[in-house]
């Protein structure tokens, strides 16, 4: 991959409305905080997608190592008791 020469990379998170979680929307290039917010707004929120934006420098993201996937993510699936599937859904509750 060619070296990225277009300023620093930032990750963009959008909240679609107050109270909901911020969801990763994509990334932008920018040289500072302000430009990152403006670029994120121009690229990701021009069609009413959100009411609030978070940006953070991509270099500050700490990611898990794909080599560790077995160790980190495998152990849960074969143990049914890890999933809350033994409860009856109360009538009328939609989002449990």
């Amino acid at each position: 991959m060619a070296t990225d020469t277009q300023l620093d990379l930032w990750e963009v998170f959008i909240q679609s409305k107050s109270g909901l979680p911020y969801i990763h929307a994509g990334s932008v290039h920018a040289s500072d905080n302000k430009m990152a917010i403006q670029n994120a707004r121009d690229i990701y929120t021009r069609r009413g997608e959100g009411t609030s934006i978070w940006v953070l420098p991509s270099k500050h993201i700490v990611a898990s190592n794909p080599d560790d996937n077995d160790m980190l993510f495998d152990p849960s699936n074969d143990k049914v008791y890890r999933h809350p599937t033994f409860y009856l859904m109360p009538e009328g509750a939609k989002n449990i």
């Binding site: 277009q6 300023l7 932008v28 290039h29 920018a30 040289s31 302000k34 430009m35 403006q38 670029n39 121009d42 690229i43 021009r46």
Partner: protein, 252 residues
């Protein structure tokens, strides 16, 4: 001059500024310095075209000859356009684009803030819709002026050159004629004298902060209110109007 005639001309002038600047900025589509900036500038272009549509439609309504906003945009000769000379100046390098956006958007911010109080309800409504967009355009232009002016020696040099090159077109923004005088009496038009002072202050603050020098007021270009333009407008119109001239009434 009746209030109706004056309002028509006044609205047309505002509409032409938005139309021509919208077209100018749209030329940058796919040519921005980076993808993000390409989108930022074309977003500004879309805001301008939206404003042009509202204003030219209102102008067509006032005129009352059954024309549409498209007729006004695409079927007038160069001499009938009344956008400011600054508006039609070419995009040049990125510094020139930003200097033009800075001068225009600071002016528009001050102007449309006042126009919101206009006694003409349609103009006031268009102003209050557009002012939110202009705030953003202004912030974008100011931020870039600071970055380029106070950036590298190359960006500083280019930004100063752009400010100097475009300065002679800024005086015209504050010119008023009998249309303005008539509509100011009616409480419709904006008085540009206090706006001029405020504009000078605001621009001076930004340029100082960007370590740029404020040019001296020397000779100022003028003419657009009489339909006298720089050669740049003709080139814009030949591209913008080509389709409607070659195939009148063509639709999608």
């Amino acid at each position: 001059m009746t209030t109706k005639d004056a309002t028509y001309t006044y609205t047309l002038r505002l509409g032409d500024d938005a139309l021509i600047l919208g077209h100018r900025l749209s030329e940058l589509c796919s040519r921005g310095p980076i993808l993000e900036e390409d989108l930022a500038l074309t977003n500004v272009a879309l805001d301008m075209i939206g404003r042009a549509q509202a204003l030219l439609k209102y102008a067509a309504d006032i005129e009352g000859k059954g024309k549409t906003d498209d007729d006004i945009a695409y079927r007038r000769a160069e001499i009938n356009y009344c956008n400011h000379l600054l508006i039609e100046q070419p995009n040049g390098d990125f510094a020139h684009t930003i200097a033009r956006q800075l001068f225009v958007s600071v002016f528009e911010f001050l102007f449309y803030t006042e126009l919101e109080k206009s006694r003409d309800e349609t103009l006031a409504a268009i102003a209050s819709k557009t002012i939110k967009e202009i705030k953003y355009h202004m912030q974008h232009a100011i931020d870039w002026t600071l970055r380029l002016g106070d950036g590298t020696s190359e960006s500083h040099k280019r930004m100063q050159t752009a400010v100097n090159d475009l300065w002679m077109y800024t005086g015209e923004l504050f010119e008023m004629d009998e249309v303005d005088a008539q509509l100011m009496r009616d409480g419709i038009a904006v008085d540009l004298i206090p706006i001029k002072a405020q504009w000078h202050n605001d621009i001076k603050t930004v340029l100082n902060k960007a370590t740029l020098l404020m040019p001296e007021d020397t000779y100022m270009q003028t003419g657009s209110k009489k339909g006298i333009h720089t050669e740049n407008l003709g080139h814009i119109l030949s591209e913008m109007q080509y389709l409607q001239r070659a195939y009148p009434d063509a639709t999608w």
